[in-house]
Symmetry: C2
Subunit: 205 residues, 2 copies
DNA sequence: GTTTAATCTTGACGATGGAAAGAGGCCAAA
DNA sequence: TTTGGCCTCTTTCCATCGTCAAGATTAAAC
């Protein structure tokens, strides 16, 4: 951000610049419109320069996905920590953080959850969505502390599935049409409330 | 399928051949590995031949998506009609048909629900997921016949979201890991049961 | 049977991802 | 401070891609 021009032969921090321009490009042009050469162009560097920082285009995409998961986990954590109320409300907060990230980074979010269809393989040691899963399981367990492992798994499955499905359908315009704005928030909160109630109900069965 | 070789200058039914090879290719190579030239190659036709049947590669992809939605609707309808039981069971059946199609056509399914991220625009008059929505709303209304419009919408949102989210996470390996086979069916049915129960409970509130 | 229109092929263009080889500059060891 | 090595970046090249234009071939219409 600070450096503007008058750089020498070396860029200085090309790796970060590529990540930044790549992320913007992804949202601008979509998954299939993403181009390594355009990333290089925006970083004001020759088209072959990225090769010294990323083995391939898919390698850069994998890095974007990796950082996306880290951010998503952070967003959920922040939102949960703001809620000191009962566990059910914390479950809703979890979903709010999840949906807020997805709404702010729609294309990246879709890429993060269509790695199979896009043949994007994470690097060894990359946790992927594991952080999300752990955080979610922890909050679900606040409600189902003394339940069986199977029940807790079912509740976690269900909680993740319903919030993931809702925001996905919203991003596609299947829920709420084109205006994914205010009218949507009420429907989203209603869906999260129904999800939380269901988890609570599972705890009582 | 019937014609094997010895075709003349004209193919006979290139449009259908491209749809067929395209669909296979999509599952084989993934969304970003999809190539118009490879489709043509598999149909044993020159690389420029598809242009006479599809204006562009995206046009062919849009056609695959269109047919996917038609098939998905048909699969759901067939599964629902097999269930004559109570509405809640029919709701589960709906989800079974949905998930069965997605499991059998994972890449196409992901493409159908990431059109925004992949910049795939349907043609004018193409209903997209409208058939799915209508069918789903009808079955949900069997449970919520005498409820308010807003409540029925919330229930429909929630039902679709939870079954869509579950199968999506399964296809990505986030639920059930690599073996999306038997152990998964029990978890999938559990999720669908929880969804149906929630809808029924909404009817009583 | 002739004309017309649709279908398919060939060839070309610009853009892409990637590989190879060389130029430029940083930095540590002398 | 000089020098040698290594990392970074550029240039050039290649195969492949989607798309376009022009011509060849055949089916269909008249």
């Amino acid at each position: 951000m600070t450096r503007t021009k008058a750089r020498g032969y070396h860029h200085g921090d090309l790796r970060e610049a590529l990540v930044a321009s790549g992320r913007k490009l992804l949202e601008e042009k979509g998954i299939r419109g993403f181009t390594l050469r355009e990333c290089a162009r925006r970083a004001e560097v020759s088209h072959a320069a990225p090769a010294h920082h990323f083995a391939s285009m898919d390698d850069l995409l994998a890095e974007l996905v990796r950082r996306g998961f880290a951010e998503l986990t952070a967003a959920m954590t922040a939102e949960v920590q703001r809620v000191e109320d009962e566990p059910a409300a914390r479950l809703v907060g979890l979903g709010v953080g999840y949906m807020a990230f997805a709404a702010a980074n729609p294309t990246l979010f879709q890429l993060m959850f269509s790695r199979e269809a896009n043949r994007i393989e994470l690097k060894e040691g990359d946790e992927g969505a594991e952080g999300v899963r752990r955080l979610q399981a922890a909050v679900v367990d606040e409600v189902l502390a003394h339940a069986s492992g199977e029940l807790r798994q079912r509740a976690a499955d269900f909680a993740w599935a319903s919030m993931h499905g809702f925001i996905t359908l919203v991003l596609e315009g299947e829920i709420g049409g084109r205006d994914s704005s205010r009218a949507l928030k009420t429907r989203g909160l209603a869906a999260l409330a129904a999800m939380a109630e269901t988890v609570v109900r599972l705890a009582r069965s």
